[in-house]
């Protein structure tokens, strides 16, 4: 892809042609940021353009003489460069599939396809520029006034308006994994974070690091240096020295092309790191002990007629183009200056051969009137009536302090008329936030570096105090050991904490830092003319096409506050978010209101300071998943995955009905590892079980298993499962798969808050075991081939019993004889590392018995045939125990259990739905789960909670919640199907549709 700038470029499927020459490229400049040995081409609106390594999209195109990069938001006026930086509103472009790329900042990349946004049919001839012809009919508030009536037409308006919306194009094409931009997230815990890598930021970082702090230095540009980068030889010398200091000082991590997005409570700082070779964007969540804001200043545009015509540049933009990118921004220039930056720009332009035809000095009463030209500057009229033919107008009228991070920390900037800008009130800042550099005040480089050095040292000092406080607030490790013990002594020495005091305060091993505060010198503030708007009207917000006339109109219409004007006109609400236009907006509104700028105040700065992609906010895709030890086997054998919470389970292996029939007729095995399991030990476990379950537990013998249901305080069914008594003081509780964590917390909550006196210890062991249910009439025959030490006969190992055994050579297995499927079945819990071994042994050994695996779907069918309910499916968040078919289980005559008062009330009043078996009269119809039951054709009287076609019975079966008066066997109900049809169904005698007497599972 690398080509010389003048080579013809030919790409398949792309326009061909001669690559334009870099006619505006200058000879090498002392501080240039481009690599002339690295040449390549990229596409701009379908044509190839040359670039050097280090070129931004804007600088590369400008070097080839391009001046128009976009069309404005509302009037589709041609727009060129204004700031030649990340903030530039005139060069927001689409790069490949990425919209809204800041072309003034983003490096050009070989082979990339860069396009202008929202222009048709082309950037040069954009038909939407017709908006400009009717601009007088599109004043501020036009949108609100016009499209509010009639309301029914809003969808139509919306479709039309969408066609005018800026914002580039999101591709519907999902790129392959390898082609997707990679987003990332990481955490950082610097002692000091310095926001801004200009001279003050660098000096503060070095000073803080030399004082022992770990420093994170964040700079938005591609390199450290701030304005020194595009300065003269003295600036470049100072820059080299500062960069050397940063490089050799240990403890400084530098992030360039990165920006601090926001500051939150506790100095949580979000930092967006861009453009790394391996990561497109990374969100760094930093918790800094001290924050130093060294954000510099942003040059402010001037409001006058034609101020958005391509060729009108800020002085910093002109200097950046010349000195960083060796690009001549024009041929004939007029410079309007009110400060040294403008003077320097004029000097730079003259040095590189731009004819500076006139310097209009605001310090001596000069002013601009209007720029003439549409697609580019042709001439400029200045105060006094003189007009100068030129193609470049450079303005230097003042600065805006980007106090965003400071205001997020509590600062309220105040307007300093002498300096003609808002300045932060550093006295309002919390201790962990400091500021330095020109965002605070002026002065020469020596002043600024001295201030930054002191600020960096002070930041390090304050960070040390915070670090000490955090360390001493760590969990009191020493207190865990009795005072005076060897462990306590050792821990005290290690942590500097006292076990004896129990306060966590430092005791002498580590004293609180006691260094004196650093005396930070004041910075002078230079006088600067107040220049916001000329006598003519022009663009105030270049992103939103808001003019000074729009602001005056808004004030005339009664919007008498800057926040209201902002919302009405959308000034400061575009991509630049006020960084360029806020002061001008406030000044013009203040003038219209006849009050001072300070009285008018500013709008509110909120995070994020700079745009952040959703990709960066999301970071890597991190969603924990859980797998059983047999997962790879399931995948290899064609299991269709079922996402059940965090668990990935086999839903079926291709034939769920066949799997269910196998269990009814022969034997099947299912992976039930996700079943929750809690190891309970202690003499008071039975008390705990009596409390949390609605049924009795005090007489459960060792070796027995019992089913139990838990309810919450309101009597609503919480969870269910079986619990086995393995020893006198040792139980193994099972829970639903999805309820494992909640039940653990539930149990711990009761033990820790209500009954800390009970001696019970709970250990979750869900995944310590691989759990396999062996079900079917031949399950005993299969299992007996692999089990050692236990007689599986019905007399020795009956229904609802538990044994420990060796299975397939694996010791320590727990066998429960229970039957969720309604068949003779055993649940085998195997030490998880051997799960796959036992699983494969069951399949190998039982091949002659016709054993096959079955999935969750077959299990659901089988348990529905048996009438076993599922908590959360056949119950919901309002289902109390007597509505869940648990009448026989709830023992209201127990002294107490959780939910007893509510269940007593429900029992006495008999209200609520009832869980019933339901059979559609047309057995070919399977009502969708959730279908409503209705009576009298209208009134809802229940719902279908579970439904399937029974492979065993050959017709459809259901469980349903139904109103009590319709719950008697034989009652007919109507089921309203999702398609609107109604089918009749009858309430069955039992919940179970198959083997209601339980003969099969007790075999």
């Amino acid at each position: 892809m690398r080509r010389t700038p003048t080579s013809p470029v030919r790409r398949p499927g792309r326009p061909t042609g001669t690559v334009p020459a870099m006619t505006m490229r200058l000879n090498p400049q002392a501080g240039e940021a481009i690599d002339r040995d690295d040449t390549f081409t990229f596409d701009w609106n379908g044509r190839s353009y040359p670039a050097y390594g280090g070129d931004t999209i804007a600088s590369a195109l400008t070097a080839c003489g391009e001046r128009i990069f976009s069309r404005s938001f509302k009037y589709h006026r041609p727009r060129g460069l204004l700031t030649a930086s990340h903030l530039d509103p005139g060069c927001i472009v689409q790069v490949d599939d990425e919209p809204n790329v800041r072309g003034g900042h983003r490096h050009a990349r070989a082979g990339s396809r860069v396009r202008s946004q929202d222009t048709w049919p082309s950037l040069r001839f954009d038909v939407k520029a017709a908006n400009g012809l009717v601009g007088r009919f599109l004043p501020a508030g036009f949108y609100y006034k016009t499209f509010i009536h009639p309301q029914p037409l809003w969808p139509a308006y919306e479709r039309v308006l969408q066609r005018f919306a800026h914002g580039g194009v999101l591709s519907a094409h999902t790129p392959a994994e390898a082609e997707r931009p990679r987003y990332d997230k990481r955490f950082a815990h610097p002692d000091v974070l310095v926001a801004g890598g200009g001279p003050a930021g660098m000096a503060a970082a070095v000073a803080a690091a030399r004082a022992g702090a770990q420093v994170l230095l964040v700079e938005e540009e591609h390199a450290l240096g701030g304005h020194l980068r595009w300065g003269g030889s003295a600036d470049l010398t100072a820059l080299a020295d500062l960069r050397d200091q940063v490089a050799v000082t240990p403890g400084i991590e530098v992030l360039t092309d990165s920006v601090v997005l926001g500051r939150y409570e506790g100095n949580w700082l979000s930092v967006l790191e861009r453009g790394r070779p391996d990561v497109h964007e990374r969100l760094v969540k930093a918790r800094a002990k001290s924050l130093v804001v060294a954000a510099g200043l942003i040059e402010r545009p001037y409001v006058f007629a034609g101020n958005d015509v391509p060729g009108v540049l800020l002085s910093t933009a002109a200097r950046r183009l010349v000195n960083l990118y060796a690009v001549k921004p024009g041929h004939r220039a007029v410079v309007f200056t009110a400060n040294a930056a403008g003077d320097a720009a004029a000097a730079d332009l003259e040095r590189v051969g731009v004819e500076v035809v006139h310097v209009e000095d605001a310090r001596h009463g000069g002013d601009l009137v209007r720029v003439l030209g549409r697609r580019g500057v042709r001439a400029v009229e200045v105060a006094g009536g003189a007009t100068y033919s030129c193609d470049l107008v450079v303005t230097a009228v003042g600065w805006t302090a980007p106090a965003s991070l400071l205001t997020m920390a509590g600062d309220v900037p105040t307007y300093d008329a002498r300096a003609a800008r808002f300045r932060p009130d550093t006295a309002r800042l919390p201790d962990d936030v400091l500021a330095t550099g020109v965002v605070v005040g002026d002065g020469d480089l020596e002043h600024l570096l001295a201030h930054a050095d002191a600020t960096g040292r002070e930041a390090a000092r304050r960070a040390a105090v915070v670090a000490w406080a955090w360390r001493t607030a760590l969990p009191h490790r020493a207190a865990e050991a009795p005072p005076g013990t060897e462990a306590a002594t050792r821990s005290e020495a290690a942590t500097g904490t006292s076990a004896a005091t129990g306060t966590g305060a430092a005791t002498g091993a580590e004293q609180a830092p006691d260094a004196d505060p650093v005396d930070v010198p004041d910075l002078p503030v230079d006088a600067h003319p107040e220049l916001f708007r000329a006598g003519t009207h022009g663009i105030v917000d270049f992103s939103e096409d808001v003019t000074s006339q729009d602001l005056l109109t808004a004030v005339d219409e009664g919007y008498r506050g800057v926040e209201l004007v902002k919302r009405y006109t959308t000034a400061t609400m575009g991509p630049t978010q006020g960084k360029l236009e806020i002061v001008n907006t406030v000044a013009i509104v203040a003038q219209a209101l006849g009050q001072s700028i300070q009285e008018t105040g500013t709008t509110t700065w909120r995070p994020p300071y700079a745009p952040v992609t959703l990709g960066a906010l999301a970071g890597r895709s991190r969603e924990p998943v859980r797998h059983s030890p047999m997962q790879l086997w399931h995948e290899r054998h064609g299991a269709v995955p079922l996402v059940a919470g965090a668990w990935i389970r086999p839903e079926h292996y291709g034939d769920p009905a066949g799997e269910a029939r196998t269990v009814r007729q022969r034997v099947g095995i299912i992976d039930v590892t996700p079943i929750g399991k809690l190891d309970l030990r202690g003499p008071d476990v039975a008390k705990l079980l009596e409390l949390v379950y609605v049924n009795r537990w005090s007489k459960l013998d060792v070796g027995r298993v019992r089913y139990g249901v838990m309810c919450a305080d309101d009597g609503v069914v919480l969870d269910d499962g079986v619990t086995a008594r393995l020893g006198d003081d040792h139980y193994l509780m099972s829970t639903t798969s999805s309820g494992a964590a909640a039940v653990w917390e539930w149990v711990e909550s009761w033990l820790q808050t209500e009954h800390p006196d009970w001696r019970v210890l709970v250990t979750p062991v869900t995944t310590a075991y691989a759990s396999i249910n062996v079900a079917g009439p031949r399950s005993r025959e299969l299992l007996s081939r692999l089990v050692e030490g236990v007689d599986l006969g019905p007399d020795d190992f009956g229904y609802m019993h538990v044994r420990t055994a060796r299975v397939a050579g694996v010791d320590g297995c727990v066998l429960w004889r229970i039957g969720f499927t309604g068949e003779l079945s055993y649940e085998v819990h195997v030490p998880a590392g051997y799960g796959l071994h036992v699983w494969e042994a069951l399949l190998d050994t039982g091949a002659d018995l016709g054993v096959r695996p079955f999935g969750v779907e077959a299990q659901r069918v089988l348990r529905l045939e048996k009438g076993h309910s599922i908590v959360g499916q056949d119950t919901d968040g309002l289902t109390r125990a007597f509505s869940a078919g648990l009448d026989g289980l709830v023992k209201l005559d127990k002294d107490d259990f959780v939910g007893r008062p509510e269940l007593t009330w429900q029992h006495e009043h008999g209200d609520g739905y009832r869980l019933v078996g339901l059979r559609p009269l047309d057995g070919s119809v399977v009502p969708a789960e959730g279908s409503q039951l209705v009576e009298d054709g209208q009134r809802i009287c229940g719902r279908v909670t579970s439904s399937r076609r029974s492979p065993t019975l050959g017709y459809s079966i259901c469980l349903a919640q139904v109103a009590a008066h319709l719950a008697s066997p034989g009652c007919r109900v109507s089921v309203r199907l999702p398609d609107g049809h109604t089918v009749a169904a009858v309430v069955t005698e039992h919940l179970a549709h198959v083997d209601p007497e339980g003969v099969r599972l007790r075999a």
Partner: protein, 215 residues
């Protein structure tokens, strides 16, 4: 009784080839010389001990909550155990593979008549060792905790979220090299391992096989 072969225990983390069997576990035979390595240490013996009274554990195991320490429990191969103060009233003892019986017996001896719960979690937890100077940088991608020397010195034990997963975390330097042990519920072991491996790509992390005793 049909011959089902000698049971071989398997970690939840897929073994990087070549697969070999060590101490009854299928482990990776891969060897890496990278400066940052990830090793599946699931075969280590892992025994949880809980007590109602925290002081019982702090006294008899001599390791406070929040810290981890190596101890000599007289294992016949001379390997030490690592006692981790993983929670209030909760310790985890890590030992070489296959030492469950020894550890459980030793705990019974140490705790005497005190009410404690000793549960073998060898098969219930996945355990990963991250070793090398870049370990903390790698973990900074997945874990919000300040891993700096001041806050998390060698021997620190804590429970936090790593890649959004509840994980027990031990700073366990080896021969002066920064190293962390991370363990989580077994079912999420592969997820944790993959997350760490993914985060370690830009740092050159490689998978290294498990070599007993491994602690």
């Amino acid at each position: 009784m049909p011959d089902t072969g000698t049971p071989v225990a398997r970690s939840p983390i897929a073994t990087a080839p070549p697969e070999i069997v060590r101490a009854g576990w299928a482990v990776s035979g891969a060897r890496s010389g990278a400066v940052l390595t990830l090793t599946d240490c699931t075969p280590l013996t892992k025994v949880a001990v809980k007590a109602v009274d925290e002081q019982v554990l702090a006294t008899v195991l001599d390791v406070p909550f929040g810290r981890a320490a190596r101890q000599d429990w007289g294992l016949d191969d001379g390997a030490q155990v690592l006692v981790v103060g993983s929670g209030p009233g909760e310790r985890l003892v890590l030992a070489a593979p296959g030492r469950q019986t020894h550890v459980v017996d030793r705990l019974a001896q140490l705790t005497g008549d005190a009410l404690v719960s000793v549960v073998d979690l060898t098969h219930g937890r996945a355990l990963v060792r991250l070793a090398g100077g870049g370990s903390a940088r790698l973990l900074a991608h997945e874990c919000a905790v300040d891993l700096g020397e001041a806050m998390c010195p060698d021997g620190t034990a804590l429970r936090t979220a790593v890649a959004g997963l509840a994980t027990d975390f031990v700073r366990d330097d080896r021969a002066g090299m920064l190293s962390y042990l991370l363990h989580c519920e077994r079912s999420s072991g592969q997820y944790l391992f993959d997350s760490l491996r993914d985060a370690g790509v830009e740092l050159g992390a490689e998978v290294d096989g498990f070599v007993p005793p491994g602690i």
